[in-house]
Every structure is written in C-alpha cells, then in structure tokens.
C-alpha cells in the first residue's frame, strides 16, 4: 500500500512516545524482551505487577483498534516447525543480548548507545541472511 510509510511514521512516533513515558515516568528502558523475560526467569519479581500492567496495555490496544483498522491479517506462517524454531531463537537470543528491537533499537540507538548500534546491526544482518537463505535458497518460508 502506498501510504504504508506514513502509518509507519505515525505508529513509530507512538512507540517512541511510549518509550519516553516509560523512561521519564518510571525511570525504565522500554524493552519488550526485558519486560517479558524478567517475568519468565524470575529476575523481575519485584516489579512483576508493573511489567504485567505494561503488557496488558500492549495486548489491549490492538483489541480496541482492530474493529476500525484496514487489515488485521498478520501473514504468520502456518508451519509449526518454523514457528517453534523462530520462537526459541527469538526468546533465547534477546535474553542473551539483553534486548531486542525496542530495547536496543528504539531506546538504545536513540541515546547513541554503542551496544544498541552493534546489536541492531547484528540482528538486521542475521535476519536479512536468514530470509535470503530460507526463502530464496531453500524455499522454506
């Protein structure tokens, strides 16, 4: 769709505003993998309620927006093997690296963090190679 970049810009500004609110309001860096991961491995036990409330907002807003939105097809693969492998890699990798697209990408690069730039470059390159390999060479996705 030709207007996609405008929606990208507007949605991006909302994402960044969310990060700004979380940073200045609660003193926290908005990283999705850190917020979820702290609940999974127990490292975020002291802030569990705050994490759950944040995640409730993330789940809830799309629920409210779906009736008025143009398309809600996520185009997710139905291949269970791909889903499980991808999920494991995303979960493991983001915890090892201490961040994902929101933490290292949005919050890290916007403060000119060296770790943020290195992480973002690494996952974009790896993701690009994965798509080329699994889509164009192997035809698996």
């Amino acid at each position: 769709m030709p207007m996609d970049w405008i929606w990208g810009l507007i949605g991006g500004a909302l994402i960044g505003t969310g990060g700004a609110v979380y940073l200045l309001g609660n003193g926290r860096i908005m990283g999705a993998s850190g917020i979820i991961g702290g609940l999974v491995d127990g490292s975020g036990r002291n802030t569990a309620v705050e994490r759950i409330v944040f995640l409730a907002g993330v789940v809830l807003l799309p629920v409210l927006l779906t009736p008025v939105y143009r398309s809600v097809d996520t185009h997710l693969t139905e291949n269970a093997l791909v889903l499980v492998a991808a999920g494991l890699l995303v979960g493991l990798g983001t915890r090892l690296a201490n961040g994902c697209t929101s933490g290292h990408g949005v919050c890290g690069m916007s403060r000119l963090s060296l770790r943020g730039f290195v992480a973002t470059l690494s996952y974009i390159l790896a993701g690009g190679l994965a798509v080329v390999l699994f889509r164009h060479v192997l035809g698996a996705i």
Binding site: D4, G91, T101, I124
Partner: protein, 144 residues
C-alpha cells in the same frame, strides 16, 4: 501512579506496533528481504520512534529522578561482548524466519490466531533457558 504510567506506556507501544504494521510479519520480512520485494516501512517506524525517544534522553540528562521519584537509567555500557553479538545473531535469524519480535508477538496475540500462541510458547521457553546458556558462555570465556 507507577502502574498508570506502565499502562499508558504499554498502550502507546501496543497501538504503535499495530498502526505501524509491525504486527504484520509480511512487512517485517519484506524489510529484511533485500533481494525480494523490499519494503522500507520498518525504517520509517524506527525513525518515527527515534524522535520522541531522543528528546526523552535529552530531558533525562537534565533530571535527577523519574517523575515517580525512582532512579533514572545510568549511562549505557560500552561493553561489546560475546553474548551481545551471539544473542543478536540468534534473535535476528528467528526474527527473519517468522517475522515476529517480542513486542509485536504480544501485540498480535488477541487477533493473530493459534500460530501466535505457538510462537509465544516457544519464545517464553527460549527466554527461560537463556540464563543457563549465558552462565555456560561466561564460564567458557573465563576458562580461556
């Protein structure tokens, strides 16, 4: 107050992910697929997110505490280590395979269908085993 701020931040994040199209795996894979039908949307999302966030870091530099009174994050570490690179590469491969990262995986749960729950279950499993793998990596580095 802390909880209200968390809810507001999470809601803005969820709305932004949805409106920007980042919960659509075709858009994410389209961005990564430079040899296919390349889709630049993700770059606009990143750029749009960077502006309010960069302003927030400027405000942070002038403040001693957060609005709710707690500490603000310290300056970023400059340490580039093995877990950072290895973890980011593993994450990138998974991101490319399915087109989902942790934020959008949560934001699309309510309307995405069964596959999203399967991905989430696998992601949580990966997150649960990560601490053990990290301590092994640390030991391997220490042994060198």
């Amino acid at each position: 107050m802390r909880l209200l701020i968390a809810l507001l931040a999470g809601s803005l994040f969820g709305a932004g992910l949805f409106i920007s199209g980042m919960t659509d795996t075709a858009k994410v894979q389209g961005w990564l697929d430079i040899f296919g039908n390349w889709d630049p949307t993700l770059a606009f999302v990143m750029g749009g997110a960077m502006i309010p966030m960069a302003l927030a870091w400027l405000v942070r530099a002038r403040r001693a505490t957060a609005l709710t009174g707690g500490p603000l994050p310290p300056p970023p570490s400059r340490r580039i280590d093995r877990p950072l690179i290895l973890g980011s590469v593993l994450f990138g491969i998974g991101w490319g395979l399915a087109g989902l990262c942790p934020g959008p995986a949560i934001a699309s749960l309510s309307y995405g269908g069964a596959g999203h729950w399967l991905f989430l279950a696998a992601m949580l499993t990966g997150m649960a085993v990560a601490p053990q793998l990290r301590s092994r990596l640390d030991r391997a580095v220490a042994a060198e």
